[in-house]
């Protein structure tokens, strides 16, 4: 066997190769492939890389792989140490042969790659765009998920890092999750910076991790994408300024404001309002301050000022306000079925005005119509008008309020026919040609054909209570409405006002219309005047008196009274007495007559009042006193026989007989007392009343009564003199006080006396407190003198005399008298 040299040569070579193989696994002979790694970036291809054990010049490398013993190996020649091969479903064998530069196999190694040896690392994602929104300090990142190379439904994780400043400090790192859909999808992610993007440069990078669930090999994050940059204004040549500009934030926010200047300049200070804040260095051209928990600013905002060297200043304004409150008390109504007016209470002011003010919109969900509302911020109530839509009765409103800081809304469902608040009735006109009826017309602006209206008429006049009258009527379209009022008083000035509401579903009354004045026409007087007559002492003439009719009885302007004297039906005398006279005198001939008095106005004459002229003779007419009540005079009488047509109390309003203003009052036959009241009664004035009885044949004076409404003390003291003086007595005499000075019915006199010298400074005896004072009360008014006894001789006495009524004491008159010595008569000393 060993005689064959070729065989020996091959055997040697085989042993050599085998040895080489063994050695390469254990040590690595020169050129021997090693560290074979296979990585998948997707599920279709693998990239296998290796290196050789020592450097040197080698030729191509043969890379042969076999996924199965049954299949021949696939070989790839390559000068690199990297091949791309399809993904194998199972383990596979790789034989890598390093060739010499002459092409001869130099070193060979066999590898067995199991599935667990293969790593999966996705390719680094590529950022499609990094877009800044400076107004919101937001970065938007877009990238493709390259999902088309992967099966549907895999979980993908994207790690995103945001970096800031030229030092590229990490600001935030987030992991974003998505599902791969076997299609290439552009993914988007937003990030809002706590610092304006202008302040310094911002960067973003991204890497991915795909979770292939049934992959047994090692899975890892991809490489980072290339960094995308959003440069800050601190890198721009003319980027100086204070940022953010005119921003609006909510109360309580934390805000960063930066100042960008030119290279070489320095910031002296930055202020927020009046406060200096510590600086945060961002770059050689940019510094910032951080305001924490910002409080509400004034209407014009809070100023942030950056002061540079050389006193150069720039600034910005920060508006700090509140989100709008939820609108309260949202209410909607219509006054004319053309416009629906919605009102609400705005709640707490936002503190934001002008462009930043709260904006309002009204959405009606049934029709889908949405309108913007122009609202006066200065007024307390907010109003918005929405057009009434044809054929729509129910409205579902949502009022939206928003400002740059927040938003709120309030909703309301409304049946419009139940929210009618008509406009104020206009052009109210009263007309008529009757003394008791009037037609009213008014106009209401609006279209109310869908509903009935209930209108209320207020009727006022000077001498009666206000009344309300309701009238229902079908609603019209921009119509005039009419009502008739009856049972008014003739010749009366009325004021009418009208207001209206919906009749069936009351919501709100309209405002009252302007008042319309109207005076009803005259009608003939309702009744005849109250008449009295006085016969002259001679009996030849009769004075007739009458009281003017009240306004409600006159029914017009009384122009005259007709006075007639009838004997049976024949007028004996006739007089027409024009206003303002309320009496006349007629001559009576031989016969008595019946006096008829009729009041006349322009509409006609009243029924006649008749009174007999006959004065029946009186017997034993007494004079009695009446009782003063303070607010009237009380008189009484017994019931007189044959007084069938009542009693009359007559008096004058002056105590003198001349220029007497006659007054009277009539009472029914069953009356026996009365309180006579008159605004002309005065306290302390005596009135003389005559009580007449009306009998079928005439009038008879029954009695006289004198009285006072209120008794007062006499105006003055009675005059008195000393008639005689002895050693132990004094006789005094006094005079009557005239009736007009009595001011009441005299009840008596009071004589006070005591020892005392004449002294002008001394007070009245009754007030002097003199222990020797004595008083004599004289109640017999017929007595006009009094002798004072048991006095001391040759002694001076003071005497005071007063008269009194139920109203009190009169002033006192005083006298000083000295009694005689022994029995001598002497002249009194005054």
């Amino acid at each position: 066997m060993w005689k064959n040299s070729s065989l020996r040569c091959v055997l040697a070579l085989a042993i050599l190769c085998l040895t080489s193989l063994i050695c390469s696994q254990e040590i690595g002979s020169p050129g021997e492939p090693q560290n074979l790694k296979c990585i998948m970036h997707n599920l279709h291809k693998m990239i296998c890389t290796w290196d050789v054990s020592s450097k040197g010049r080698y030729g191509q490398t043969d890379f042969c792989y076999a996924t199965s013993d049954l299949l021949p190996p696939v070989c790839i020649k390559t000068r690199e140490k990297r091949v791309e091969i399809p993904v194998s479903e199972s383990s596979f064998t790789v034989i890598i042969t390093t060739n010499s530069i002459y092409g001869a196999a130099f070193a060979t190694k066999k590898f067995v790659i199991h599935k667990k040896d293969i790593s999966f690392i996705p390719l680094a994602p590529h950022i499609l765009s990094l877009t800044p929104d400076f107004s919101t300090s937001t970065l938007n990142l877009k990238w493709s998920d390259n999902g088309s190379v992967f099966p549907y439904g895999l979980d993908a994780f994207w790690q995103i890092e945001i970096l800031r400043k030229e030092t590229m400090e990490k600001v935030t790192q987030v992991i974003y999750h998505s599902k791969l859909t076997h299609e290439n999808i552009i993914l988007s992610w937003n990030w809002t910076s706590d610092m304006p993007l202008e302040c310094t440069s911002h960067y973003a990078k991204i890497r991915s991790y795909i979770n292939i669930t049934d992959f047994v090999g090692h899975k890892d994050w991809s490489d980072w994408s290339p960094v995308e940059k959003v440069p800050g204004k601190d890198t721009e040549p003319n980027g100086s300024g204070v940022f953010p500009q005119d921003t609006v934030v909510a109360v309580g926010s934390d805000v960063t404001i930066c100042c960008i200047h030119e290279e070489g300049q320095q910031i002296q200070q930055m202020t927020y309002g009046s406060e200096i804040y510590p600086l945060i260095h961002l770059s050689s051209r940019s510094s910032a301050i951080r305001v924490v928990n910002a409080s509400a600013s004034d209407a014009s905002g809070t100023n942030v000022v950056c002061t540079l060297s050389q006193d150069w200043m720039d600034g910005t304004v920060l508006f700090v306000g509140y989100a709008p409150d939820t609108p309260q008390n949202l209410s909607c109504e219509t006054s004319n079925f053309l416009i629906i007016k919605c009102t609400w209470k705005p709640g707490k002011p936002s503190g934001l005005y002008g462009k930043r003010r709260t904006k309002y919109s009204l959405l009606e969900r049934i029709s889908g119509k949405n309108i913007s509302c122009e609202v006066n911020e200065m007024s307390r109530e907010r109003v918005c008008g929405f057009p009434v839509l044809a054929d729509q009765k129910t409205y579902s409103f949502t009022l939206g309020v928003s400002n740059p800081v927040g938003q709120a809304e309030s909703s309301l469902l409304v049946d419009l026919t139940q929210r009618v608040h008509p406009k104020t009735p206009e052009k109210l006109i009263a007309s008529g040609n009757s003394s008791t009826d009037v037609h009213l017309h008014w106009y209401i602006n609006g279209s109310f054909t869908e509903i009935w209206l209930l209108c209320q008429i207020e009727i006022s006049s000077g001498h009666s209570e206000q009344k309300l009258q309701n009238v229902s009527m079908a609603g019209g379209k921009f119509s005039t409405y009419t009502a008739q009022l009856n049972s008014l008083h003739p010749y009366t000035k009325y004021q009418f006002k009208v207001r209206c509401s919906a009749a069936e579903h009351f919501w709100r009354w309209s405002d009252w219309s302007r008042a319309e004045e109207y005076t009803t026409l005259e009608a003939q007087p309702a009744r005849g005047p109250d008449v009295w007559r006085e016969r002259s002492p001679s009996g030849r003439s009769l004075k007739i008196f009458w009281k003017p009719l009240s306004l409600s009885e006159a029914n017009g302007k009384i122009v005259s009274h007709e006075v007639s004297c009838y004997l049976l039906d024949t007028p004996l005398e006739y007089k027409e007495v024009t206003e303002p006279s309320h009496s006349t005198e007629i001559k009576l001939g031989k016969n008595d007559c019946v006096i008829s008095v009729v009041a006349k106005n322009h509409a006609g004459s009243s029924p006649p009042t008749k009174i007999m002229s006959v004065e029946l003779p009186s017997d034993d007419v007494r004079t009695e006193h009446a009782v003063a009540l303070g607010n009237g005079i009380y008189i009484s009488w017994t019931s007189y026989p044959n007084v069938t047509c009542g009693y009359i109390v007559k008096w004058c309003h002056s105590s003198g007989a001349e220029h007497c203003s006659v007054d009277w009052e009539k009472f029914l036959s069953n009356t026996t007392d009365a309180v006579i009241k008159s605004v002309l009664f005065r306290p302390g004035v005596r009135y003389n009343f005559s009580l007449y009885g009306c009998k079928s044949s005439g009038y008879q004076l029954l009695k006289n009564i004198t009285g006072y409404m209120k008794e007062l003390p006499p105006k003055r003291a009675p005059n008195f003199t000393v008639e005689e003086t002895s050693s132990d007595s004094i006789l005094v005499k006094w005079e009557d006080i005239p009736i007009e000075d009595c001011q009441g019915f005299l009840e008596g006199y009071r004589l006070s006396f005591a020892k005392g010298e004449k002294d002008a400074l001394k007070s009245r005896l009754s007030e002097s407190g003199n222990p020797e004072l004595k008083v004599k009360n004289i109640t017999d008014l017929t007595k006009k003198s009094l002798r004072i006894l048991d006095l001391q001789g040759k002694t001076s006495y003071q005497l005071d005399l007063q008269a009194y009524t139920a109203g009190g004491m009169s002033p006192a008159n005083s006298l000083y008298v000295v009694t005689k010595e022994d029995c001598k008569l002497d002249i009194p000393i005054y």
Binding site: Q245, S274, A299, G301, T307, G315, T316, Y353, G354, M378
Partner: protein, 164 residues
């Protein structure tokens, strides 16, 4: 022209002079700090145009022309300031009233000066240079520009009142 137009003009200028400082002080208060405490720095007139009004003008005609330019400029500037403050300070009723009143008096002055220039000097046209429009500017610049105008106005109106 009415017979008392010169006297009326003098009174109008005197009125503006009497109210200028109060208007300026109120304006500063309404803009918020540090406008009141750092007025000189914030509202300095550097790089800012305001019509000259020198007191050493020789002729009355020159004075009238200068005054016309001044009040035409002021009228336009007050229009800017008022518009800006109606947006920035809509609740500052007193400030807005003062601005409106000053504007009204200024417009009356322009009317009188127009008449005087026409009647006395046959001048029918005056070239006026106006300040920058503040519309579209940011809020801080609006406040600052108004401050600059009013600060200068207080100084210049006193010169004008002295001359008349």
């Amino acid at each position: 022209c009415r017979s008392n137009v010169y006297e009326q003009t003098r009174k109008q200028v005197a009125l503006l002079n009497a109210t200028a400082q109060d208007l300026f002080s109120l304006y500063l208060k309404c803009q918020g700090e540090p406008f009141s405490s750092e007025t000189d720095k914030l509202c300095s007139p550097n790089g800012f145009f305001f019509p000259d009004f020198h007191e050493n003008r020789t002729s009355e005609k020159e004075v009238m022309v200068a005054m016309y330019k001044l009040f035409a400029f002021l009228n336009a500037s007050l229009g800017n300031i008022t518009r800006d403050q109606e947006e920035l300070n809509p609740t500052a009723k007193e400030l807005l009233d003062r601005l409106h009143n000053t504007t009204k008096t200024t417009q009356g002055l322009i009317s009188n000066l127009t008449c005087l220039l026409c009647k006395n000097y046959n001048i029918f046209q005056v070239d006026v240079r106006y300040g920058p429009n503040s519309k579209g500017k940011r809020a801080f610049k609006k406040k600052q520009q108004g401050c600059q105008v009013l600060r200068k106005y207080v100084q210049v109106i006193s010169h004008a009142a002295r001359i008349l």
